[in-house]
Symmetry: C2
């Protein structure tokens, strides 16, 4: 059983604040050329994508330096719902490292924020506390989630206060840094998490972008049918 977990990539799709706009336009056409091709312009972090360590760490590995096998995950779903806007996810919301099957290498956090895709509200997603990111590090697991990322995203109004509503430092990318410094992957803007089994295989192979800091991916879940 396979399921798509990626957002569509299309002209004008939602992007992270400040990221390049996405366009997908025809190039060759059936009428003129006998076949159709298109041209895609996209940020490396548009839509459903993976982050390379280099995304937040200048000396981190680039996406084409990471072994491809590390993007075929043994994933465990973690239901973080319900969550308030900009709610911090504490370590207690995640499995204890000692209680986690050592085969698991990715926690897929279902925050419920997928339903806000395409609205300003999507920016107000829950995020990992420093302690929660540290728990992932201890367990040696990366993180996938149905939101822009594991750190807070600037609000639509540019209201920096909202970033600090949980009392944490609003600057920087602490959760990214904690995970990426151990080369633990981050998969962002997942969708389609409804009714997934607790354990599944997740494929999120990045394009082989030379010296890339991340890549759009086709995220796919696979599990055995009952």
């Amino acid at each position: 059983m396979f399921r798509n977990l990626s957002r569509p990539i299309e002209t004008g799709m939602p992007t992270y604040p400040g990221d390049p706009d996405v366009t997908l336009a025809p190039d060759a056409t059936h009428e003129d050329d006998g076949y159709a091709t298109g041209e895609l312009r996209t940020g490396t972090h548009a839509g459903t994508h993976v982050d390379a360590p280099r995304h937040t760490l200048p000396e981190g590995e680039a996406i084409d330096e990471c072994g491809v096998g590390s993007f075929a995950f043994d994933a465990r779903l973690v239901d973080c719902r319900p969550a308030e806007p900009r709610e911090p996810i504490a370590p207690e919301a995640l499995p204890e490292p000692t209680a986690l099957d050592p085969e698991v290498d990715l926690l897929v956090l279902r925050t419920g924020w997928a339903s806000h895709w395409g609205t300003d509200r999507y920016r107000d997603h829950p995020h990992l506390t420093a302690a929660a990111a540290e728990r992932c590090r201890e367990a040696g697991v990366g993180v996938g989630l149905d939101a822009f990322g594991p750190d807070p995203t600037p609000s639509a109004g540019g209201d920096a206060e909202s970033l600090a509503s949980d009392g944490e430092e609003p600057d920087g990318t602490p959760a990214h840094d904690a995970l990426l410094s151990d080369s633990l992957p981050i998969v962002e803007n997942l969708c389609g998490l409804d009714d997934l089994p607790a354990r599944f295989r997740l494929y999120a192979f990045p394009l082989r972008l030379r010296e890339g800091d991340g890549s759009p991916v086709r995220a796919v879940a696979e599990w055995a049918e009952e």
Copy 2:
């Protein structure tokens, strides 16, 4: 055991004649923004990629209409070497449909042309005869190959004669059409085929490009270690 089978994607990489140039450039930077992102411009058929039926068939399925599971292949390697420039691959070079494990859904044709990547010679790859494409159709298998595609590519000198050197009609995309009209996938510009086992799983999940005619992919082989 996993292995990358995709070409690097980078500024100035080789492309199919007439396709858009590829550029991959920095956007946000560590110095100015605290994190790095990039912007990719690419044709939908650049580098290692899959073709959607719509690539050559105006009414064919778009890439985002194909089920994701259909891009996790049970692949069989077929060694077509040695091959002369523009040599037609006859049906006899492929397994008999009746002798093929019904689990197999992709033939990966190793033409040896991967070694010419980045040179004019790369255009002079072997190609499938109409009868060979028909054999694939009968067997219900798609085709992956280490070349621009299953149909002849225009030569560097624009010498149309060279396309007809095998006596076949040089126009159009007959092998593409035969495969794509049955929604049989085509994976092009593979690399890394040396010493692959005869059977392996091949992942070539396309980006979810809205109404796309194809997509760059990270092609990955997986097989059980001995």
